[in-house]
Symmetry: C2
Subunit: 290 residues, 2 copies
Amino acid sequence: MIRKLCIIGVGLIGGSAARRARGFCEEIVGVDADPGNLHRAEALGVIDRGHASVEQGVAAADVVLIATPVGAIEPLLHELKPFWRPDCVYTDAGSTKGNVVEAALRVFGAVPPNFIPGHPIAGAERSGVEAADAGLFEGKRVILTPLPDSAPDALARVEAFWARLGARVERMDVGHHDEVLAATSHLPHVLAFTLARMLGRKDEQAEIFRYAAGGFRDFTRIASSDPKMWLDICRANRVPLLELLGEFEAALREVAGLVRSGDADGLHACFSEAKAARDKFLKLTENNHA
Amino acid sequence: MIRKLCIIGVGLIGGSAARRARGFCEEIVGVDADPGNLHRAEALGVIDRGHASVEQGVAAADVVLIATPVGAIEPLLHELKPFWRPDCVYTDAGSTKGNVVEAALRVFGAVPPNFIPGHPIAGAERSGVEAADAGLFEGKRVILTPLPDSAPDALARVEAFWARLGARVERMDVGHHDEVLAATSHLPHVLAFTLARMLGRKDEQAEIFRYAAGGFRDFTRIASSDPKMWLDICRANRVPLLELLGEFEAALREVAGLVRSGDADGLHACFSEAKAARDKFLKLTENNHA
C-alpha cells in the first residue's frame, strides 16, 4: 500500500494512473499548472486533492509520478529539487528518455538514485483528464531506463508501482529506448503529420478528402495527436529521429525509383517484404495480448 | 431486374458485387483464370456458375463487371473484343482509370460507348472470394469516369447497377480521378509499405516491433494489402504517384528542417495544420455516413 501518491501533470496519463492507483493508495494528490484542470480532476474524483504548488503536492509523498509534457520536465525538476527526499521514489512518463536524463544531470549534477525514468507505451489521440481510464496501462509495456547509479530498492519500488497499474515492466538502456521509439512511434507520427498537412492543402484546392477511405483514416489517425506534445517529443529526440527521417527518405527514393522504371519484380519484392514485416509485427502483438 | 450478370475476376470485389446482386439478377456467372477460385465461388453460392472461357461467360449477359486486378484488364479486353455486344453494358472496378481508358483505346481504337469505367472506393486488406461481403459497397462512393463518347443510356444502366449494390455513384474526369486517388490512397500505401519494410529490417537486427503500439498498427494497416494488386496500381498510376512522392519528399524535408533547427513555433504550426486537416477529413467522413 502506498500512503501518498503525488501525480504532477493530471492529463490522460497522470489521470489514468490515478484512477487505477485508487485501489492501492491511501491518498492521491495532483499538481498541475492549470487550476481549471485540477478542479476538473477533483470533480471527476480522479484525485483527492489538487495543489498548485509542487511543495505542498510532494510533501510526505511516497511516490511521485511526473506526467507532464516532455518539454516541461526540466523546469519541473528545478522546482522539485529543494523538496527532493531520499525516502520517496520518483518516476516519469515521458515518451523520450535521453532528454529527461540530461535534464536531471543539468539540474542535480547527477541523476538522483531514487529517480527511475520510465515510459508507458500507451496513449491515445485523446488527451486530458476527462479521457483518463483505469485500464489504460493494462497489459501495456512500461520501459524503465534505470542508470548505473540507480538505487536497487528505488528501482524495485518503481517497478512494483507500474506493475500495479497493470503494465508489463521492462528495463532498457536509455539510448536504445530512444532509438527504438524514434522508429516505432516518432517517425510514423512525423510521416502522418506530414501527409495530413500536405493533403489538407490539396483539399483546399480540390476536394480530395471526400474520396478518401478507411485506409486513409487509419493511416492518418496519429496525425490527430496533440501538436504540443509531439513538438516536444520531436525536439527531445531529434538526433535519432533525424537519422531515421534520412533513412526513410532514402528508402522512399528507392521505391520511387522502382515505380519510375515500372520494375514489377522489384515492387513485388518490396511490397511483399513490407507485408511480411507487418504480419510479423501483428503476430507478435497477438502473442503480447495472449 | 438484370437477367444475366457476368463477373470477370471473382475476388473480394467481384464476389461482394455478386452477393449483393443476388437480389436483382436472375443469373450470376463468374469468369476467372483460376479454376479453384471458380469452384470456391460456386461452392460458397456467390455465383450460380463459373466459366473458364470469357466467351461462355459473357454470352447473353446484360451487364459485365470486370473485377480483375488492374494489370489484367488490357489482355482481358483483347479476349472480350470478339464477343463485345452493343446491347450489353460493361464496367470495371479498377483502382486506376487512365490506364483502363488507354488500354481500351489500344484494343478497340476508341473506347466503346457502352463501356463505363468505374472505381468503387471500398476494399479491405482482405482479399479473395471467401471475404466477399454483400455490404461491402453500402454507402461507399463509386466513381464513374465516362468519356465524351459514352452512350447516355449505357451510363444510366451502369449507374443504376452500382447504385443497386448500395453505392453512392459519382462522375469524375479520368485524369482528376487518378490524381485524387494517387493522393488519398496510392501515396499512403507506398508510405506504409516503405515504412513497414524499413522497420522490418531494423527488427531483424534489434527487436523493435515488440515496443510498437496501436498507433503503429493503424499507421501500417494498409501495408498488409496485396503486393500484386499494389504493384499493378503503382505501375498503372505512376505519373501522378511519382509527382506526389516528390511533393511528399519535399514536405518531409521541410519538417525535418524544423526538427533539426528545433523550431518549436514552426513544428507547432505544422502539426496543428496537420491535425486540423485530419479533423476536417473526419468531419466529412461522419457527414458521409450520416
